[in-house]
Symmetry: C2
Subunit: 363 residues, 2 copies
Amino acid sequence: MFVRPRLDIDLHRILENYLSFSKAKKNPNTQMAAVVKDNAYGLGDQEVAATLYHRGACRVFFVAHGFEGHRVRAVAPLADIYVLQGPGEEDIKCFAEDNLIPVIASPAQLAFWNREKPNHRKPAIQIETGLNRLGFRVSDIAALSDAERNQFGLVLSHLACADEPNHAMNQRQLDMFRQLAPSFPQAKLSLSASDGFMLGDDYQFDIVRLGAVLYGLNPVPGFPIKSRNVIRVTAPVLQIADVYPGDCIGYGADHVVNKSGKIAIISIGYGDGVFRSFYPKGKVWFESDRQLFAAPMCGRVSMDNLICDVSQVPDNILYHSRFVSLINDAYTADDFGVDAGTIGYEVISALGHGTRFIRTYSS
Amino acid sequence: MFVRPRLDIDLHRILENYLSFSKAKKNPNTQMAAVVKDNAYGLGDQEVAATLYHRGACRVFFVAHGFEGHRVRAVAPLADIYVLQGPGEEDIKCFAEDNLIPVIASPAQLAFWNREKPNHRKPAIQIETGLNRLGFRVSDIAALSDAERNQFGLVLSHLACADEPNHAMNQRQLDMFRQLAPSFPQAKLSLSASDGFMLGDDYQFDIVRLGAVLYGLNPVPGFPIKSRNVIRVTAPVLQIADVYPGDCIGYGADHVVNKSGKIAIISIGYGDGVFRSFYPKGKVWFESDRQLFAAPMCGRVSMDNLICDVSQVPDNILYHSRFVSLINDAYTADDFGVDAGTIGYEVISALGHGTRFIRTYSS
C-alpha cells in the first residue's frame, strides 16, 4: 500500500545527453554550457551541475538568479557561472562571494553593476536581436562608451523561433547578432540554446547554452541526435472501481460514462504539478514487462488525485499494478506537454517543483 | 534594482476568513476544520495551521498525506488531524508518532490499517456518493461486518458540483450520504468542503472542511460572505523598451506589434508558477496610491520572465515602479485563474510551489 508519487531522475542520462550533443559541435573550441536555472528546470541544480562538472568536464553554467549561482558554485568550484537576469539587491552578495558573472541586460543594470562592482569578472552583455525580451537595444548599444564596450567578456542573445528551423526570424536574428557583436571587441559570442544549436554550424559561436536537451526535451523533432528522457514519474494506484452508464466522474460531473467499465484513482494531482489541462487528452500508463497500457484520463484532475479509465487494461496487469507511470521513456515530458496543451519545459518545471514526490537520483 | 519575485502571505486574513465562515454555521456544534494539505495549497502548512490553532481555536485539520500530518502535528499538539489519502508504507510511521486519523477509502486500505494498527484512534471512512473518486462503494459498505462499521469515528464524502449551487448532483449526493451514513452508528458526519458549506444548512453536518475560502478563493461567487484575498504576488520590472509596428515579441514571434508602444520585461515566469496559458488573456498591474493600471501580457510566458504591454501605463507610474503585482486584492487568484483558463486553486498551488520567491508572512 503506497500513497506518495515518485520522481526518479537519471543523472547518467543527463550526462549522456550533454556528451552526445557536445560531440556534435562544429568548432572544437566552442564551449558547451549547461543551463541549470530554476533548480535545473526543477530536477535539482546541484545534482545536475555536480554530475556535468565532475563527469562531463562542463566548465560553463547558466542560471537565472544570483542565489542559484551560489548553489551551483558549491559543487562547481572552478566553473564560469553566468547569471542571466543580472545582479539584484537580493543577490548581489553572491556575486562577490561566488565570483559569478552577470549577464547585463540594460543600461540601468550596467550602472548598478559598475557601482557595486562585487567582483572583477568581465560581465556579459545581453543584446536584443528580435525576441524583444531582455537586452540592450540598438540605441542602448550606440550610447555606450568605448570603455564600456570593452568591459564585456561575452555577448549573448537569444532566439525566438529556433524550435521552428524554417522560421524567417532565425536568419534575421543571426544577421543582427553578427552585425552588433563587433561593437564588443573583447567579447566571446553566444547566440544559441539547445534549439539554436540544432539550426546549424553558423549558430554555434563560442558558447552554446544547452538546457532542454539535457533534460530529455526535443524542441526540434527532426534533429538527428535525440535527447533521451531523464525522468520517470510514477504514482500509486489507490483504488480501482466499477462504473456504469450514466455515472459521472470527477469535479463538475464533467465526464459521463457511456459504457460499463473500470476506473482507477491515482495518487497525484495538480498539487504535484499535473496540470488540470491534462484532462481530457492525457493518459497514464500501466506497465508490465516493457508493455505499456494506456489509461486515459476521465474526469478533471484534482489537487491530490486523478482518475483514469482502466477498462482496456488487462486484469492480470491492472490488479497487480501498485503504480502507474505518468512520464516514461515512451511517453516523455514532450508528449505529456502536447496532451496538456503546453510544452515539455513547463511540464518538467511543474513536476520538478512538486514537494510530495519521493525523489531519487540514479547516476 | 531587484530581480526576485515576492510572495507575501497574510496569515491574519487567513484567520479572518476562517472566523467569518465559521460564524456562518447553523449548528453551534458543527466543527469548522481547516484543510491544510499540499503545504496549505502551497502557502505554508505550519504557518497556517499554527495561526488557526492558536488564534482561531481550530482543533480539526485535514491533510492528504501522513507526512503532511506530521508537519501539522508539530504546531497543533492537541488537534484532530485527518489524513485524506489514508496510510501508506511511506508514512505509516507518522500515524503512530503523531496520532493521526486516517481516512480509509477502500477495503484494501482498511485491511492495511487494521493489520498495522499504528494507533488507537477511530479511523474515518470515505464513502462514494457520486464524485466517483476515492471511497467505499455501496457494495463495499454492504460487505463490512458490524464490528468494522462500528470502528469508524467519522463518515466523510465529497461533493462533485458544489460550486454550482443549482446542479442536480448536489441533492443527489446529499440524499445518498444521508442514506448511507446510518451504516456507521458510531460516526460523526462530514460531507462538505468550502463550497458545500455554502449550499445551505443541510450540508453542514458535524464537520465542515474549509479549504478554498481560507485562502482567498470564492468558488461560489454569489455567497453573502466573501473570502478575502490572502496573497500578494509581485515581481520586479527588469526593463522597459519601445516597440514598433511589425516587431515580434516573445517565443514563436507570437505577438506582433501593430502600433508603436512600450513593453516591460518582468522577472517572473512559468518556472515560478505563472502558467504559460496566462498568455494571451492575462495582465499584470502597475500600482500607485491604490490606483491600478493593467499591463496586458504580450508574448508567451518564458521560464524566468514575462513581457507585458505598458503603453497605457502613465509615464510617471511606469518609470517609478520597481515592481508589478500579479495577484492583489483587486485581481485575485480566482481572476488570474479565469485569465489562465483554470481555477484559483491551481493558481495558488502553482505559485505556492515556486522556490524563487522571497516569501514573507504577515500576521
